[in-house]
């Protein structure tokens, strides 16, 4: 009986949620209209407003990225395309626009990482964390049901050939999920937001400049201080930059 009331409450809440969606859609369409009419500044503000309301759709980030390209704010455009790609990693339009915008940048960084790092990054970027976690949960479900079935039917053999196969599957997808977890949460990628950014050998203005970067360059944050972050580039160079010079790609 109690369950029935919980379900009833959930169903009652659903129209409220859908009502909120209608508002979001309306605001999104307004921003699109501003973009179509060429009022890119207004469109950017409208898209940003949606993002600030914690509404995270790849379409919003993608459109915001496009708007910033039109306004010439390439670092913001790249940041938003990267966010859009996190939510919708197999979207070819986002990939194309990100690649196009990177081509407009003043600076370019060679990717001198090992082939296996590049390959694993490439593969993991084609799936979201939720997707791989769902697969892991699904395989766990199959594994548990198989085990219970073995006990309930009295076969008594929990570690059957099928269970071993499912367990190997579980290890495989678990490994991928682990990799994705590392990519999403441990390797924090960020975008240089300043037109010109100095990376230093230490976290202070007194330290010598190691190298300079332009806006839109992607870096990996490997350490944090109060006002400084240590960043690593794909060519292997690393240096300390001010936190205000970069923006992390996180949703």
């Amino acid at each position: 009986m109690r369950r029935f009331f919980v379900l009833l409450f959930g169903l009652c809440c659903m129209p409220v949620a859908l009502g909120a969606t209608a508002d979001i859609k309306s605001a999104f369409q307004e921003a699109n209209t501003s973009y179509r009419t060429g009022d890119y500044a207004k469109a950017a503000a409208q898209y940003e407003n949606l993002v600030q309301q914690n509404i995270h759709f790849s379409a919003i980030y993608y459109d915001l990225g496009n708007t910033y390209v039109r306004l010439g704010h390439l670092s913001k455009a790249i940041l938003n395309f990267e966010k859009a790609l996190r939510l919708d990693p197999r979207n070819n339009d986002i990939r194309h626009n990100l690649s196009y915008t990177r081509g407009l940048l003043e600076y370019r960084v060679e990717d001198s990482r090992n082939w296996y790092l590049k390959a694993s990054e490439h593969i993991l970027k084609y799936i979201t964390e939720e997707e791989i976690n769902s697969v892991v949960l699904g395989v766990i479900f199959v594994f548990l049901v198989g085990g219970i079935f073995g006990f309930v039917t009295g076969r008594g053999s929990f570690w059957s050939a099928w269970q071993r196969f499912v367990f190997i599957m579980l290890l495989s997808v678990g490994l991928v999920a682990f990799g994705k977890q590392v990519q999403s949460n441990l390797i924090r990628d960020a975008i240089v937001m300043q037109k010109e950014c100095e990376a230093r050998y230490g976290p202070s203005e007194h330290d010598q400049v190691a190298f300079r970067m332009g806006e839109g360059i992607k870096v990996f944050v490997v350490d944090r201080r109060e006002d400084w972050s240590r960043v690593l580039l794909t060519n292997g160079d690393s240096g300390w930059v001010k936190n205000t010079d970069i923006a992390e790609v996180k949703i």
Binding site: A59, N66, D93, H96, T101, N133, L144, I148
Partner: protein, 637 residues
């Protein structure tokens, strides 16, 4: 069965080896039995039989002749799974003085047997001419023919200084071009000639030639490389052209061609001082003895200088597009009567000598009454002799727009002829066609649909970001997905708990199945709890028969609990056994022991006595039972 097969196989192998030696036939022949002093006589020793791997036979010592081994030729024939081979060893004999001589029998060793040839008598007359100092002695050509015979300009300055790896002048390679000065896009033949006094095997390029600035076509080499004997600086060498490349310079200028390095292997064998044939004791370029010890050598011919002249500007026709050589042109159309918007295909064929791959389609004149499309291009390359040539055909589709009489105009093709040093212009014929009226609009002809050249290429004209996304995805599937994800996570947790529980139960069952006493001990408390609940229900009734039943059940439950706990027989245990066991565990002075014994006495009284038992006694009985269970459980811990 396997054993029989194996024995049969061994028999066949040995029998075949025996037959091999038996079926050998060796003959010797000369191309002429009479010659002048200094004139060459070719001696052939032919060995016929089954597959053989033979060393070249050594000629007997002949003081009146210079003898040279000039190579071998093998012919293998496969018939019905068997094979026969004929090997012919060639020698050149140069008589040094006149007279009548007998060429003694030559011994050929096949396997363990020696086969002699028949002696040959030779007549030698006095010489009429001097032998040139540098002359080829190839069997086919005349003795005094200059080297190389097929080269238009055997440039003497191209002769290499002797390349002597490790100061060995017994082997060297010469890379030479057939002409030093050429026009742009005119063919130059680059030849690699190997001169050797060893048993030599050509292995290929160790380092490819550097020929940047040239379009290159390679001539396929014959399976049997032609060779000839030649004298250089008083020494006789076997010479063979091992590689030929046709070079077409793409731009004028002075070029330095790095010919690369050739790798050869020579057989290490002590060289006789006076018998030249010992140097060539086996095949040349055919492998030689498989087990012979060989040494690899790198041969580096010197660089080659080449001057490429620009094509003259004087007289250069408008239709000239860079073709150099000697060409012919022909053209055909597939129909001369068509309807409006119906295609006519003009096929233009250009053939001749020169770099056929670089020939472009003749330019079309400005046509107003036609739509034109390039339909197809085909080229065939021929490498005949030392010349590259071929044919190239172009198909052009003309689609007449207007009705009436029309002409497919002549197409002009020009080339530069380096021999005549002038430009030549050729033209296709003028093709009149009759165009009938048609209302049909233009459609791609069915037979042309598969030809990509006919269709215009889609080209990217600019780059920009792709358009914005105008729709938000539907939230409901996303939320349902999120809900399903959470449900699945909780479900997994639940299933995990169930699985752990089932696993525990399964493990317990396995233990209990091995130890019944353990099962009783472990389940005693839960059984006692169930019994206590049942007793409490019975105790609520005040009827006399229920009171009786209560005490009967109480006694049973207590006895069962203690029997389970201490592994006593439930039905065989006596009151005395229980008293002893309780005294052992509690101590004989323990007040609770007295309570238990009192309770047992009360149970007996209820069963056999006639007086009524107060309701409070039931509660007290249950309490004693509970206390007993609790105490014994604590004791176990």
């Amino acid at each position: 069965m396997k054993k029989t097969l194996f024995i049969s196989f061994l028999f066949l192998v040995f029998f075949k080896a025996y037959v091999c030696a038996e079926d050998v036939r060796v003959t010797a022949s000369v191309n002429k039995r009479s010659a002048q002093v200094g004139e060459e006589i070719r001696l052939n020793i032919r060995v016929e039989g089954q597959n053989m791997n033979l060393q070249a036979p050594r000629l007997p010592k002949m003081e009146s002749f210079d003898t040279y081994y000039t190579g071998r030729a093998s012919h293998i024939t496969f018939i019905n799974g068997g094979s026969t081979s004929n090997i012919e060893f060639s020698y050149t004999l140069v008589p040094q003085k006149a007279g009548r001589f007998t060429l003694n029998s030559v011994e050929v060793q096949v396997g363990s047997k020696v086969f002699p040839t028949e002696p040959i008598i030779l007549e030698v007359a006095e010489s009429q001419a001097q032998t040139p100092r540098f002359s080829p002695t190839g069997s086919a050509g005349p003795v005094t023919q200059p080297l190389p015979t097929q080269m238009p300009q055997p440039v003497p300055q191209n002769q290499p200084s002797v390349i002597a790896p490790e100061n060995d002048d017994n082997i060297f390679v010469q890379a030479w071009v057939d002409r030093k000065t050429v026009y742009q896009n005119q063919q130059v033949l680059l030849t690699y000639s190997l001169y050797t006094r060893y048993d030599t095997r050509y292995e290929g390029f160790e380092k490819e030639p550097e020929t940047s600035g040239f379009w290159i076509e390679e001539f396929p080499m014959e399976r049997e490389i032609e060779r000839e004997t030649i004298k250089v600086n008083g020494k006789r060498y076997v010479k063979a052209d091992v590689k030929k490349l046709a070079l077409f310079p793409t731009a004028p200028g002075n070029y330095t061609i790095q010919p690369g390095s050739l790798k050869v292997s020579v057989r290490e064998e002590p060289q006789g001082s006076n018998a030249f044939d010992e140097f060539f004791s086996d095949s040349f370029f055919t492998g030689g003895s498989f087990f012979a010890r060989r040494q690899n050598r790198l041969l580096n011919p010197p660089v080659i200088q080449l001057t490429v002249k620009p094509l003259p500007d004087v007289g250069k026709p408008e239709s000239f597009q860079g073709a150099v050589g000697s060409f012919r042109i022909s053209a055909t159309i597939d129909k001369n009567k068509v309807k409006q918007n119906e295609p006519v295909t003009l096929k233009v064929n250009i053939e001749g000598e020169g770099n056929i791959e670089t020939i472009n389609r003749p330019k079309l004149p400005g046509l107003t009454g036609f739509k034109t499309y390039d339909a197809d291009t085909n080229s065939k390359l021929f490498k005949t002799g030392n010349v590259i040539g071929g044919t190239k055909s172009f198909e052009i589709v003309f689609i007449p727009k207007n009705e009436g009489n029309a002409f497919i105009p002549p197409l002009a093709f020009s080339y530069f002829d380096p021999r005549q040093e002038k430009y030549v212009t050729l033209q296709t014929p003028n093709f009149p066609i009759q165009v009938e009226h048609s209302d049909q609009s233009f459609q791609m002809p069915e037979d042309m649909t598969g030809k990509a050249m006919f269709q215009k290429q889609v080209k990217l004209e600019g780059k920009d970001v792709r358009y914005i996304e105008e729709k938000l995805p539907d939230l409901l599937p996303m939320r349902l997905g999120g809900l399903a994800y959470r449900v699945l996570a909780w479900l997994d947790l639940l299933l995990f708990v169930i699985l752990v529980f089932l696993w525990g139960k399964d493990r317990q069952e396995r233990l209990f199945s091995k130890d019944a006493a353990l099962r009783r001990r472990k389940t005693a408390r839960s059984v006692a709890s169930i019994n206590i609940r049942r007793l409490k229900k019975i105790a609520q009734s005040s009827k006399e028969e229920d009171t009786k039943e209560f005490f009967v059940e109480l006694e049973k439950a207590m006895t069962q609990y203690m029997a389970d706990k201490w592994n006593l027989s439930t039905y065989g245990v006596t009151r005395h056994d229980l008293e002893e066991t309780l005294a052992m565990h509690f101590g004989s002075d323990d007040p609770h022991l007295q309570d238990i014994l009192g309770l047992y006495a009360l149970c007996d009284e209820s069963r056999f006595g006639k007086g009524s038992i107060p309701q409070a006694s039931k509660k007290m009985g249950i309490k004693i039972f509970q206390d007993t269970v609790n105490r014994i459980e604590r004791m176990r811990k």
